[in-house]
């Protein structure tokens, strides 16, 4: 399943490389794309205002990317998924990819020993906690960012340092709670521990696998790719990645939240029927 995907992505990107000689347009060279302005790979229209009907040398942005799937569909058979992000950049440079889930307030509980029993005695809420966070780079991240600071590129540690705590707490203790939050998220696969590897081929094609666990919160995730040259971001592309239930799972979940009473009654009816007939059948066997 995974191999044909990779293959097709590589072929696809290779096709891109052939038809576009990657002419460097000065308007594009140093431009940082605002988020969402590039919904995936773009051939045109050329950014310098030339109407697409006028034949010119095809203009390639410095950085383009696409995903093997436009969305993460949570079906009844969903067990977590690995998406392939692939793209092309204008060398030289290094690539950093950041995927972040929607931010929300999360409450962390801490067990402490009380009269010999382990109880949830401590609780601390944090605002602006990303549901999911994954960062991948074509070179060790420290080396990429150390030189001139990647600006908006945040490693998981930096990102977590910026979540806001709700209420008052002593500093050292707050750090422990924050570490606890990361620990739980890691265990659930929502903050994949290692910094991912972006593979670069032929100096300009890149790909990276994005691992999504089975227990994946719904929402619109943001996928961003950055092109770094000498520690500075020279191009960035971003696209939304919707994560949601589809088909039977979606209908059921929607029904459960919208019409809880009817859903509950149906669940009881289903249980009564299944129990009664199932019991009757089993006794015959």
């Amino acid at each position: 399943m995974r191999r044909p995907l990779v293959l097709s992505a590589v072929l696809w990107a290779f096709g891109l490389a052939l038809c576009g000689p990657a002419a460097l347009d000065p308007a594009w060279a140093q431009r940082v794309e605002p988020p969402g302005s590039l919904p995936g790979p773009t051939f045109g229209p050329p950014p310098n205002g030339v109407p697409p009907s006028v034949p010119t040398t095809p203009v390639m942005p410095d950085l383009i990317m696409d995903l093997s799937q436009p969305r993460v569909s949570i079906t009844s058979a969903f067990q977590g998924e690995s998406l392939l992000l692939f793209g092309m950049f204008d060398p030289p440079g290094e690539i950093v990819v950041v995927v972040a889930g929607p931010a929300a307030r999360e409450t962390v509980m801490r067990k402490e020993r009380f009269l010999g029993l382990w109880l949830n005695t401590g609780r601390q809420a944090f605002d602006d906690v990303p549901a999911y966070y994954y960062i991948a780079a074509s070179q060790p991240l420290q080396r990429l960012l150390a030189r001139g600071a990647g600006g908006e590129i945040l490693s998981l540690e930096d990102r977590m340092a910026s979540v806001r705590s709700v209420g008052q707490r002593e500093h050292q203790d707050l750090i422990r709670f924050r570490q606890g939050l990361v620990e739980v998220k890691r265990r659930d696969g929502l903050y994949p521990a290692a910094i991912g590897q972006v593979f670069v081929q032929a100096g300009r094609l890149f790909r990276v696998e994005l691992p999504f666990p089975s227990r994946l919160p719904e929402g619109v995730y943001e996928v961003r790719a950055y092109l770094l040259r000498e520690g500075r971001i020279t191009a960035a592309v971003s696209r939304p990645l919707p994560v949601g239930k589809v088909g039977f799972s979606a209908e059921l979940a929607g029904w459960a939240t919208q019409d809880g009473e009817l859903y509950g009654l149906s669940a009881i009816a289903l249980a009564l029927l299944a129990g009664w007939f199932g019991g009757a059948v089993m006794r015959r066997v």
């Binding site: 969903f78 999360e106 962390v108 509980m109 089975s214 039977f248 009473e261 509950g264 019991g279």
Partner: protein
Amino acid sequence: MEIYLPIAEQSMNVFVLLGLGGTAGLLAGMFGVGGGFLATPLLIFVGIPPAVAVASQANQVVANSVSSLQVQLRRGNVDIRMGLVLLLGGMIGSGGSVWLFTYLKRIGQIDFVIAVLYVILLSSIGVLMLYESTRTYLRRRRNPEAPRGKLHTHYLVHRLPFKLRFYKSKLYISALLPIGLGFAIGILSAILGVGGGFVLVPAMIYLLGMPTTVVIGTSNFQILFVAANVTFLQAATNSTVDVVLALLLIIGGVVGAPIGSRIAARLPGVVLRGLMAVLVLAVAAELLTELLRTPSSQYSIAGREMPL
């Protein structure tokens, strides 16, 4: 084989869930308990969120009870009158203690209260049952011809007013007693999210003095309605009933329940009670070590709220 559970929002092995349901069904058939007291902690243990585990388990208990009740009704082992009186108390108790649950949840101590209540209840019931059944067993072995003695002893409680005759149970007791019992069970099921059979069965035997044969069917009768009530309330207020999860548990339970009933029909009451005592104590011991042991991780995430 994995399946995605739309309300629990994660995938889970189908056979694990079928096995869990089967075990709960076996217990339901054997002892007339819903099996919730065993299955709910196990579901939480395999990673289902507690709120979803409790609510979906209640849905399974509905199926389990109706399946067992079918058999008990045919054998004439259900004291409907007693069941209705118990139910009256049960509905008042479970309805009234919803606010208690909400309060405990708000102060963040619901998990602890659940665990401690389980440990206290299960260990005291287990010890009581084990003591009684061992004593009866030993006495009967020592002196098999001994007369059974009185059907039950008369305490102060038997002087309460509103006396009712329960023909099936061969009892003439105050209606306040089963109503009070039902009320207490209602509170428990609202907080612990179980049918309450593991408390109800021993209480009916030792407190009300009902014959063991009628106890299981009557307890099934009451549990059916209490579990249906819990399912409905959970679905309507919290949307935490996962029917996919429940259905898998039900399928397992439907297979397990008749096997349990058959085993129960062949075993003498004393042995049955002894077995249940051992099981109850084992679960209590497990939950207690869970509370005492240094956890692998001190931290957990209580909830996620989207900004408005």
